[in-house]
């Protein structure tokens, strides 16, 4: 079984960090993982993305042209990666910054108002955690408890944000899991 996802957004949105935490978690679970950042000139353009592969078997290509999931934190990212998404794949949209609908009809779409939720939680910089939680909720790619441990380690430097981020994770998780089930019901 392999999970792979492209996470993309503005440089400031911490998409590379999200990907790293995901990969860390996968490794903790004893899975094979790879994390591949974009480091090209587009970095200067202010957009960034990374590809994370989590698999039971050694990871083949770290380059994924048609990912099973795409997590779009802003519009340019959605525009760029929606077409690449595998048929039947998962498209996670940060509806706080992306106001258009998905164009693909052959994929599962989950819209998460990551920034709003983060602001609600008085944790404006936590939008990426909400989104990460959402990805986990929608895919169960790795266990949330492990991801929560990793949040604790990652932010060990600033304890004040730890709980807020974990809360953000959980909100995203619940929301996405819910909407997936809802989708399945209908």
């Amino acid at each position: 079984m392999q999970n792979d996802v492209i996470i993309a957004g503005f440089g400031g949105q911490g998409v590379l960090l999200m990907g790293k935490m995901l990969a860390y978690a996968g490794m903790r679970e004893g899975k094979e993982v790879s994390w591949l950042p974009s480091y090209g000139p587009e970095m200067r353009g202010g957009t960034a993305n990374c590809t994370v592969v989590i698999s039971d078997r050694p990871v083949g290509s770290p380059v994924v042209q048609h990912p099973r999931s795409v997590l779009a934190m802003n519009l340019p990212s959605l525009d760029k990666f929606e077409p690449m998404l595998k048929a039947g794949g998962l498209l996670l949209i940060n509806s706080s910054l992306i106001h258009r609908d998905a164009q693909r009809s052959d994929v599962t779409v989950v819209r998460i108002p990551a920034n709003e939720i983060a602001n609600e939680l008085k944790n404006p910089r936590g939008a990426n955690m909400v989104a990460l939680g959402a990805y986990l909720g929608a895919t169960h790619a790795v266990s949330t408890t492990i991801v929560e441990d990793i949040v604790r380690e990652t932010f060990a430097g600033k304890p004040q944000v730890i709980e807020a981020n974990i809360e953000a994770l959980r909100r995203g998780y619940a929301m996405a899991e819910g909407s997936i089930q809802a989708g399945e019901k209908t």
Binding site: K20, P41, G60, S61, P62, V63
Partner: protein, 362 residues
């Protein structure tokens, strides 16, 4: 030591430290800046020294001095920077100095771009510098393998008293994967003390001279033949390659090295699902090149497809291996464009359908 998620560049730096290397001389260049940056904070922790050289020319000559002093030392750069080391690499080979040189290739020619490439295969394997010399070239396809090969590289360099090059691409340098550093790793070669090094002469032996100058042509010819004999030993003992899916029957043999080989391996699996038999041969040592293994693997196939992030350089060695015994096809991307499993699989399908034409014989 537990597995750690590391960037390839960091893993390469740590591997050097694990191999007992306490000296790094280098100059920044994308996409390998994380190597000097890692060494600049890591080496002081182990009582080592990091020096940011004024240029790659200087860095490679600092390498010469440190290696000639009998210490383990390495440098890293990317394509244009490696070109600037050509003279010094030829000098190190001529003076028989052990040193490790990492090239995290970027797209060329000229300033080119900063994205991944394999355009320096010729430079690495046929000698970018002047004169008859060779460097041992190892190409990793994963972060773990990069770490392992770097450690072997130091042993091989010491054993053969010759520069060893790690040839990686931007992906290897930038991607993160779990890495494990085995405790109590043993050298991959039996190493003898460096009695040849210039470390001060009390008179109990003739002076040690680190040198590549031999004005007398007869002496220089002897020296050249000695070097060739050494390279022949490498050809005999140091060939490394890995085959995948070669036990089952296959119509097409893929030949690729480095990260693209992983892309090929995924393509291979996808194709298997479609019932298309594909094998993959991955050279790990580029010099010495696994000619025999490639030829043997090709005999089972109807055609061979070489995949490179270049305009086709390794393919020349593959052609030398095949000597016209199998139709040869090529799929290459350049400029930092990456090959995806879909691309490769597509090319194989075309090939099966006889759509793509053979690369013209030399």
């Amino acid at each position: 030591m537990a597995k750690k998620l590391m960037k390839g560049c960091e893993a390469i730096g740590e591997a050097a430290v694990q191999a007992g290397c306490k000296l790094f001389f280098g100059y920044p260049i994308t996409p390998q800046n994380e190597i000097p940056e890692y060494m600049s904070h890591r080496l002081p922790q182990v009582g080592g020294t990091f020096v940011q050289a004024e240029s790659e020319v200087a860095a490679s000559n600092m390498l010469y001095g440190a290696a000639g002093s009998g210490e383990r030392v390495f440098t890293s750069s990317s394509s244009p920077g490696i070109s600037l080391m050509a003279e010094a690499i030829s000098y190190m080979a001529g003076s028989e100095l052990p040193a490790v040189i990492v090239n995290i290739m970027r797209a060329g020619p000229g300033l080119g771009g900063i994205l991944p490439s394999q355009g320096d295969y010729f430079q690495a394997t046929k000698g970018g510098g002047h004169g008859d010399y060779r460097v041992l070239v190892l190409a990793p396809w994963s972060v773990q393998e990069a770490a392992d090969l770097v450690q072997d590289a130091f042993d091989l360099a010491d054993y053969y008293r010759n520069p060893v090059m790690i040839l990686g691409d931007g992906l290897i340098g930038q991607m993160m994967e779990p890495v494990e550093f085995k405790q109590g790793r043993q050298p991959c070669k039996v190493l003898s003390p460096k009695t040849w090094a210039a470390t001060g002469c009390s008179g109990d032996r003739p002076t040690n001279i680190v040198n590549s100058l031999f004005l007398d042509p007869e002496v220089l010819e002897r020296h050249n033949r000695k070097l060739q004999a050494k390279y022949d030993t490498m050809i005999r003992d140091e060939i490394r390659c890995a085959g995948y899916g070669l036990d089952q029957p296959y119509d097409v043999l893929l030949v690729a090295y480095g990260t693209v080989a992983r892309v090929c391996s995924t393509a291979m699996e996808d194709l298997h699902r479609e019932g298309i038999g594909v094998g993959l041969m991955r050279p790990v040592s580029l010099f010495p090149f696994p000619y025999a293994a490639v030829r043997a693997a090709a005999e089972k196939a109807r055609a061979v497809l070489v995949v490179e992030l270049s305009c086709g350089q390794m393919i020349e060695d593959v052609r030398l291996a095949l000597e016209g015994t199998r139709p040869l096809h090529f799929y290459g991307r350049q400029g930092g464009m990456l090959a995806s499993p879909e691309d490769v699989a597509g090319k194989v399908r075309e090939l099966m359908r006889g759509v793509t034409k053979e690369v013209s014989r030399a």
